[in-house]
């Protein structure tokens, strides 16, 4: 299982980003891989609009199975859903704590967007 986690920096003690579309990047963890990869989310910075969509596209193109985040807007959620990616929400403050919660099965699966769209 391949996981992506929306963060504000790289590494296992990185904080979870409050905003999916404007997350600094994504920590990617594969089952078989001991060391996490970090993909920056900088392509969103110059976009006039649609940062959440770009972030979702980035995750989809990484072919992850599960994304862990704090909040997800409606367009990003629709795209992740269309790609068959499970969207899990966490209140944990770091990547490691979110991973531990995932292993323990205590994360909430989102059935719909958790915040309004930004239209920008």
């Amino acid at each position: 299982m391949k996981l992506a986690i929306a963060t504000d920096s790289s590494g296992l003690d990185a904080p979870i980003s409050a905003r999916f579309g404007r997350a600094a990047g994504f920590v990617i963890i594969s089952d078989h891989d001991a060391s996490p990869e970090y993909i920056p989310n900088t392509q969103s910075l110059n976009a006039v609009q649609g940062a959440g969509i770009q972030a979702a596209q980035c995750i989809i193109d990484q072919q992850v199975d599960v994304v862990i985040l704090r909040h997800c807007g409606p367009k990003a959620f629709m795209l992740l859903n269309a790609a068959g990616i499970s969207v899990l929400s966490t209140q944990a403050d770091t990547v490691q704590k979110a991973l531990d919660a995932h292993t323990a099965g205590t994360l909430t699966t989102l059935e719909s967007a958790s915040v309004d769209g930004h239209w920008v």
């Binding site: 609009q49 596209q57 367009k75 629709m78």
Partner: protein, 284 residues
């Protein structure tokens, strides 16, 4: 001739002045309500409006049988209005600017454009005034396409005198409403916010290379910092309209300015005469 009326700050009296100018014109006049997010001219003009024409922008649909998900369209789109998920291309119409880039790059003929409604345009007349009102649908985010459609409807009658009631502000909606005008009137109020926002509007007027002048509304009898700022920058003050509770109350009830204050008739006519004579305008 096309005269546009704008301001930096909202609520300075653009609609009051636009409708007043239209009312004193001695030739048939087109009044374009380009404040499409909040169109108010017809509250004063009271024209019977013909059925509305929808204003649409082109957005895309993908024909899955032709699409091979090559993603050229995604790469070409600058607005993130296309995504690839679940083995297909997904359009996001609210983000689409209708530019046509995706269709240009698609090698499979899989992209078709469909009109997506964002607002409407309505025409009506009252006496010698023909009103063209643009109105953005509530929930649609982008006003410039509705403004452009309203301007295009006006340009279909090129020989008429056109008066354009522009939206407040100094960004793309105001630019879409005032672009290409022969003269721009900036309506300002002599308050700190009014002066601050007028300076921004002047910057836009200069960058658009429009001849312009200022009408000061709700002006006291004495000179204000706004009067001084205009004089210091050689900006013509076309008129100073007085502060009046009675005029404000009449306007609140949808009364045209010159019905409530007929003594201002000569002042309003003089603004129009000056502009039509073409002898007053700040250097752009």
């Amino acid at each position: 001739m096309i005269i546009a009326i704008a301001s930096g700050k909202g609520g300075t009296g653009k609609t009051t002045l636009s409708t007043a100018l239209a009312s004193v014109a001695t030739t048939p006049v087109l009044l374009l309500d380009c404040d499409v997010e909040a169109p108010n001219c017809n509250i004063y003009i009271k024209a019977n409006l013909a059925p509305a024409q929808p204003v649409t922008v082109p957005t895309v649909t993908i024909e899955p049988l032709h699409c091979n998900v090559c993603r050229a369209c995604l790469d070409a789109c600058q607005f993130n209005a296309l995504a690839a998920a679940g083995g297909k291309i997904i359009p996001l119409p609210e983000l689409c600017h209708g530019c046509g880039a995706c269709q240009l790059v698609c090698q499979s003929g899989a992209i078709a454009e469909v009109p997506h409604r964002i607002g409407q345009c309505q025409t009506g007349s009252s006496g010698h005034i023909t009103l063209i009102e643009g109105r953005l649908d509530v929930g649609s985010p982008l006003s410039p396409p509705v403004i452009r459609a309203t301007r295009a409807a006006g340009n279909a009658m090129p020989d008429a005198l056109q008066i354009i009631d522009a939206p407040p502000g100094t960004s793309c909606p105001m630019v879409a409403a005032t672009h290409g005008a022969d003269y721009l009137i900036l309506v300002a109020e002599p308050t700190p916010f009014g002066l601050h926002d007028l300076k921004l509007a002047i910057e836009v007027a200069r960058s658009l290379k429009l001849a312009f002048g200022v009408v000061i509304n709700r002006a006291p009898d004495t000179a204000t910092p706004l009067d001084e700022a205009c004089k210091a920058d050689s900006i013509p003050i076309l008129a100073r309209l007085p502060e009046s509770r009675r005029i404000a109350a009449a306007g609140a009830h949808g009364e045209l300015l010159l019905k409530a204050a007929p003594h201002l008739g000569d002042t309003i006519k003089q603004i129009l005469t000056t502009i039509l004579a073409g002898d007053k305008g700040a250097v752009a």
